[in-house]
Structures are given as C-alpha cells and as structure tokens.
Amino acid sequence: MISRILAAAAAEGEALPNPLIPAVYDIVWSSVVFVVLLTFFWFKVLPGFKKMLDERAKAIEGRLAEAEAAQRSAEERTAFIEAEQAKLRSESSSIREEARSEGAAILAEMKAQAAAEAERLQQTVKNSLEAEREVAQRVLRAEIGELAIELASRIVGQKLQEDAVANKVVDDFISELEGKRA
C-alpha cells in the first residue's frame, strides 16, 4: 500500500527523497533526543523510582513487624492477666476454704469449752451440795445425839412419875424442838 501511495505521489514528477535513507540532521536529532532521555532515565528517574519502591517496601515491612510485635505483646499481656486471675482465684478459694475450716475449728472449740464449763459448774454445784449435806448431817448427828440423850434422860426421869407427865414431857420436847427450829 505504501509503495503504491508513494508511487502515486511520485507521479507528480518531483525528485523525491528516499524515505529509507536518513538525512544527517535526522540521525543527529534522533541521537540527541535518545542520549538525553537515556541519561535522564538512567541517572535521575529510575534511581528515584527504585529508591521510592525500596523505601515503601521497607516501610510496609516495618509496619508489619510493628503490628506483629504489638500483637505479640498484647497476647503476652493477656496470658499474664489470665494467669494472674487464675492465681488470684485459687488463692481466694483457698483462703475461703481455710476460713471455713478455721471457723469450724473455732466453733468446735467453743462448744467444747462451753461443755467443759457446764460440767465444771455442775461439778461445783454438786460438790457444794455434798459438802453442805455432810455438814448438815454432821450437825444433825451431833444434835440428835444430844437430844436423844436429853430426851432419854428426861423420859427416864419422868417415867417414874406418870405417864401423863411423860407424854407431856415428850410434847414439850417436841414443841421445844419446834421452837428451836423456828
């Protein structure tokens, strides 16, 4: 197609340049443009571009590492808190257990003490009653002896006189006794 277009164009009869043979200035300006662009890309654009990509990769990696570290420390803290909680829980339960057993022991001791006290009181009362009874017995025994002797001596003395008198003596004695008692 090109050749036909060119042929058609050539038909106009001008002395046409061959499009495949470059003019010197054409080569010169092409080379100038190429060299300038190559230098520009090589030493200016691409180093900056690569540096930016490297920095970005580094920054993203850094942030990832940061996030990972934060995650790890958070996990550690959580584990620590959980362990602490478990420790506290077991401690509190053991304290409760201890308190309960201690309370029970105190209760038992109190009960035992109270029982001992009661027994002791009972014993004391019993002892004192016993002692009083003994004293009373002793006193009564002595008095009764005397009285019996006295009565006997009176009975013997009065018998001889009359029974009535004797009865009277006994009655008198008893009333006397009663008077003494009172």
């Binding site: 036909r4 080569i27 010169v28 654009v45």
Partner: protein
Amino acid sequence: MKLFSALTLFAAEEGGFHPPSIMEFYPEIVAFEGTPFAINRIMMIRLIVLAVLLVLFYFWTRSFKKAVRTGNVVPGRFQLLGEMALNFVRKSIAHDQLGEKDGERFLPLLTTIFFMVLGMNITGIIPFANIAASSVVGLPMVLAAVAYVTFIYAGMRKHGVKFFSNALFPAGVPKPFYALVTPIEFLSTFILRPVTLALRLLMNMIAGHLLLVLCFSATHFFFFQADGFFKLFGAGTLLFGFAFTVFEILVSVLQAYVFTLLTTVYIQLALADEH
C-alpha cells in the same frame, strides 16, 4: 485502496484535491540549514516531545522523592500514574523477559526506548503536531541500532566470542546442515532483526500518517469543493478519519510496546545459555 484511486482520479479531473505525498515527511528546514543540526517541523516536534517527557518525568521523580522524604507509602493519583507507567516497562517487559537481575541491568535502556517511541509516535494524533516524530527514518534507525548494539553487547559480555558461535551454529543441529542453517541464522539475527525493528516502526507511522491525511484532506475536499451529492461522502471520510485517529492511538502504544519487547527478547536470547 479503491477509494484512493478514486480520489486520485478526482484529483486528476478537477484539480482541487491534493493527495498526501512523501514530501509530508520532509517539511522545509527552518533553522541551521545545511548543517548537521538542521531543524524542520518534525525535528522541532521531537525536541518538544523531549521537553515534555523531561518535564513529566521530572515531576514524577519529584513526587517519588517527596514520598521517600515524608515516608508516605500511599501514592496520590499523579504519582500512581507514573508508577504504573514505569512499572509497566519494569515488570511486564523487563522482569518478565529477563528476570529481576538482568531486567534491572537493562531497565534504563528499555524505559528510554519505550517512552521515547511512545512519545514520538503519539504526536501523530496530537493536534497542531499531526505527524509522528518517529515517521522519519532517523529515529527508528537510531533506536534499532541501539537495540542491535545492546543485544550484541549483552551476549558478548556473558559468553564472550562464544556468543557468535552459539548464535551462528545452534546446538543440536547435524554438522552438514550448518551449511544451510548458519547463513539463515546470520541473516535473521544480525541483519533482519535491526532492519525489521526500524522498518516496522517507520512504516507503521508513515502509513498511519498518510491514512489520516488522506481521510481528512478528502473530507475537506468533499465538504468544500465537491458538488451536491458528493458532499455526503465527506461524512463518510470524516468518520473514517475519526476511526483511524483512535486506531493510531492504539498503534502508537502497540508499536512502542512491540519495539521495547522485541529489544528485550533479543537481549534475553543473547543472554540465554543455549541457543
């Protein structure tokens, strides 16, 4: 092509239509005429493209630097665009073909080739430029020469002189066949590669430009010089012009990609241990 013959017929008959000619690519010299630094419209476009590329990538470099300085890892829209452009060559071309190590080694060259070809191609559809700065043979030729020198350098650097014997006498071929294979290998590797690189780009850009000129000058002719019924043809040619403009954007990018990719593949073949 029929359309074109028809148009030349028109031109012959009425004298009002000027078909595009090869002289499109040789505008008059405006400065330094006769010296090696002569400047015409196309050379000027090249220098403007160079300036635009320098400014654009300068700003991108600055935004990269700023990102490094501020430790910002989230690029803005402008910076992201630059990253995508540079990463396209870096990842999709250099790293894919050459691996990371060799890819980084040849990256400056490949990046330069890609953005230079792309920038020079795209002026074909930029208003007021309207011609690809790569549609004159010098630029494709220089770039093809650079690619040629680079892949030979890469091969020599890695394999020494054995690079040439590897390339010309491929392993695993029975000896008598070398009489046949070696000339073919020589032709394809050391002659056709640079020639096809340069011609593919040059011809794509020349053809694209001629097509666009044809469509739009025909539109102009139909609208302003043809009579009555023929004016309607102008709508058709305008539509074609629009379609080819879009197509030329695709071709510009594609040719830049193809040129860079082929250069990379040639380097990769030169570096490969076995041919």
